[in-house]
Subunit: 232 residues, 2 copies
């Protein structure tokens, strides 16, 4: 697989980079391919590289010492991940990145990226942009988890996901490939509750479900569940 500088322009953090910047980055990076279920890095590893996913799909998750884990984010093509470690020389990854399917990512040395940012304010700005986005999303999700009921959180999780990577299938419906387990971890609940909620939605015709599959038939109704005021 060959990556062109122009491809990198699709990465939000590189949108203001010059062609020379991109060329330089490419020259100094390597491609890493990971099979399904494999890991790009583990929480706690020294953050030697930052990554740009060029093919496949991955997820970022955080786990506690007791082994329980939550999904922080799903990564699709041309998204950057592992970038938090890029800021400090001695940083470690605060999360684990696992490939959901066979995936390839461009690995950029953190130290080199830091050097580039020193002399290119636009790169720093774009990275800060990305970071503020994360912070806001995490703050929102935190509030949701603290104050909202499970059904709504699941609806929100699905909608957030479709906004990022939902694909229309042949019937024009939006289809997602995810396990109940993933959905549960994204929403802060259990696989059992997730399954029950989806079953209920299916009974009401909002979705169709299958093994590792959710098809949205009435996206609007989902939005309503996600947004409507509590009837209190």
């Amino acid at each position: 697989m060959t990556i062109l500088p122009a491809d990198l322009r699709k990465v939000s953090v590189f949108q203001h980079a010059t062609d020379d910047d991109l060329k330089l980055l490419l020259e100094r990076s390597i491609l890493r391919s990971i099979e399904e279920g494999g890991f790009f890095f583990f929480q706690g590893d020294p953050a030697k590289y930052l990554y740009v996913l060029v093919a496949g799909r991955a997820k970022l998750m955080q786990s506690s010492t007791a082994g329980q884990q939550v999904n922080l984010r799903t990564i699709s093509e041309w998204q950057m991940f592992g970038a938090l470690g890029a800021v400090r020389a001695d940083a470690i990854y605060p999360a684990t990145a696992q490939a959901l399917e066979a995936s390839t990512a461009l690995a950029i040395e953190s130290a080199f990226w830091r050097e580039m940012m020193q002399t290119r304010p636009h790169l720093s700005f774009d990275l800060m942009q990305l970071m503020t986005g994360y912070i806001q999303e995490m703050q929102e999700r935190y509030r949701e988890l603290a104050t909202e009921k499970v059904e709504r959180r699941i609806a929100r999780s699905i909608l957030r996901l479709t906004a990022q990577l939902g694909l229309k299938n042949a019937d024009g419906n939006i289809e997602l490939a995810l396990t109940r387990q993933d959905l549960a971890e994204m929403s802060g609940t259990t696989i059992f509750t997730a399954s029950r909620v989806l079953a209920e939605w299916e009974r009401n015709g909002l979705v169709e479900t299958g093994r590792e599959r959710v098809v949205l038939c009435k996206p609007h109704s989902l939005v309503q569940i996600a947004e409507e005021l509590d009837e209190s």
Copy 2:
């Protein structure tokens, strides 16, 4: 009240700033004083200024359209807040900042700060440092909320707070000034449960409580509650 450039060095984002930078910043900023319960800014306002608290105490909170809210962070002296809006020209504050007691903050124009960062990479780096810290903290708290029981979350909230601003009192114990309501909002629970948990701790001699007051008698036991593995 007069702020000296040297004072600003206590702000983590300014630690690598030059004396000239600090002088410039001071000249271009104004002081805003807010009485107890007043607001520096509201969620949704255009982020025209970023702030550095120079006296008092404040909290950052996020509220949903339904009015429910969570505490994101407590701000003590020489901490920066409202900085997320500093990155984009058209940003809005993603949270509300309320004074917990009569407080004063230095208000720096976001646009001016952005200009300074353009030519001073060290400032960008220090701000990114702050942002990565936030992201990591929010990710952790999110996981805690999703996977851990209330008692442990309350213990964690208290410990996090003491790490930032806990003060030893005359007896050498650590004392905090916070309402049960605040504690509940920090921990993602209700005032009732927070009250019950503290009462239980008090019965076991871990803490002493009073109106808007929590004194840690056995901090180590709290750490144990916060960290010990589930007996599963």
